[in-house]
């Protein structure tokens, strides 16, 4: 009895670990409990619970098909009625949201990202920003030169730097050593340590982060900045 329950749960776990959709079956309460725990463990692996862009595109497409066919008149009426009720304060909030829409939607569809950019400021010079010893392998730190916020990364002994400011609306990025990514606290955009957009939940992809020239001199990490 226990053995067959263990077999069924093992098959379920195999499917999860191989990224397959498990088959349906009638589970006992004990089996179901074990299966729920297995789902939690699979999801705890780094990056496992992030959707890929294709999945988000599919969801968006199907939502568009289902929702855009609804009659528009109802939404317009509701909005008008709401505006009457909340008057000025509501209008102020609308301006905020509308501005966000304008700033967010850089184009009708598709990414706006261009090729990798390198920040090479006029009148730039090499400036020390941290000692090499302050940045062990597998870590990233935020530094500021007053004019430039940067993230300096030590990826397997290779030191590099990218802009520390999100290319969407300018929030300061937060290095996440565990997942080797830079996360924007404002709209959850995430970049790789090399500055590539890993995912976004905006209408269009923000550009990749500009890289910043870096070097190591006399035990100091230096960036070419102003």
């Amino acid at each position: 009895m226990t053995s067959s329950a263990a077999d069924r749960v093992a098959r379920f776990v195999d499917d999860l670990l191989r990224g397959r959709r498990p088959r349906r079956f009638k589970a006992s309460p004990d089996e179901a409990e074990a299966m729920a725990a297995a789902a939690g463990l699979v999801a705890a692996r780094a990056g496992a619970d992030l959707p890929d862009k294709a999945a988000l595109d599919r969801i968006h497409q199907r939502l568009s098909a289902r929702l855009d066919e609804s009659p528009r008149i109802e939404a317009r009426f509701t909005r008008r009625a709401w505006l009457r009720t909340f008057s000025t304060a509501a209008a102020a909030a609308f301006v905020g949201v509308a501005l966000d829409e304008v700033l967010t939607r850089q184009g009708p569809t598709g990414p706006v990202a261009t090729g990798p950019a390198v920040l090479t400021p006029d009148g730039g010079q090499w400036r020390p920003v941290a000692a090499v010893t302050q940045l062990p392998e597998g870590h990233a730190i935020l530094v500021s030169t007053g004019s430039v916020d940067a993230v300096v990364v030590n990826d397997g002994g290779q030191i590099s730097a990218v802009s520390g400011i999100c290319t969407h609306l300018g929030c300061r990025l937060q290095p996440d050593d565990a997942d080797k990514r830079l996360s924007c606290p404002c709209h959850q955009t995430a970049f790789s340590w090399s500055g590539k957009v890993l995912y976004y939940r905006l209408k269009a992809a923000p550009p990749d982060l500009p890289s910043i020239e870096s070097r190591v001199r006399d035990g100091q990490i230096e960036l070419f900045v102003v």
């Binding site: 749960v9 705890a44 619970d49 969801i59 968006h60 289902r66 109802e74 304060a89 966000d100 829409e101």
Partner: protein, 189 residues
């Protein structure tokens, strides 16, 4: 004096980042696209953490968005929409466990979860929680789950590594998962 009514902070619990000038407080959703863009990743993550695979998580996330968006009337306050999304997600996940595995107990637990925020982009917290959970398990249980879930061993490889039969490894895994579920409920809350 202009009195702002119903302006809701987007990031409850305090934002460590200074507010930037050109970023408006998004207090109200005016269309389904905004709701989608703001929440689809969080809903997908919430679903994935309960189903453990991408195909089902995608279906659940889509179902949650559809059910929520079909009943919403715009404009709608952000915090109301998010609470409704999470509530709907619990219902859809409970339905998933009932319809796929006849699992009334898991479904009930999901329905009774306390209110929660949508997750951020990193699952570091979930990883740390899993590590703590593994740390609480007896050695053999911890070992089989580490081999399977952290190192990606097959049942056969895990059995060889532990010096047990495949059948024993399956039973160990089953018991370890049940113990993990029990600890999760009783110790980690």
């Amino acid at each position: 004096m202009l009195r702002v009514v119903g302006l809701i902070e987007l990031r409850p619990g305090g934002d460590p980042e200074p507010k930037i000038e050109n970023e408006p407080a998004a207090a109200i959703y005016t269309d389904w696209e905004s709701v989608y863009q703001d929440n689809v990743v969080g809903i997908y993550q919430l679903a994935f953490r309960r189903v453990g695979n991408a195909a089902d998580a995608e279906d659940v996330a889509e179902d949650v968005m559809i059910r929520t968006l079909k009943t919403l009337r715009f404009p709608a306050p952000v915090h109301n929409v998010r609470s409704y999304l999470v509530k709907t997600a619990k219902t859809v996940l409970a339905d998933h466990w009932r319809s796929h595995y006849s699992a009334q107990n898991v479904a009930l637990e999901l329905e009774q979860l306390p209110p929660q925020e949508l997750a951020g982009p990193s699952n570091t917290v979930a990883s740390e929680r899993a590590q703590r959970l593994l740390g609480l398990l007896p050695d053999q249980f911890r070992r089989v789950l580490e081999l399977r879930f952290l190192l990606g061993y097959s049942v056969r490889e895990a059995a060889n590594e532990m010096g047990v039969t495949e059948s024993n490894a399956r039973v160990l895994q089953f018991r370890a998962l049940r113990k993990a579920a029990e600890l999760e409920r009783e110790v980690l809350g």
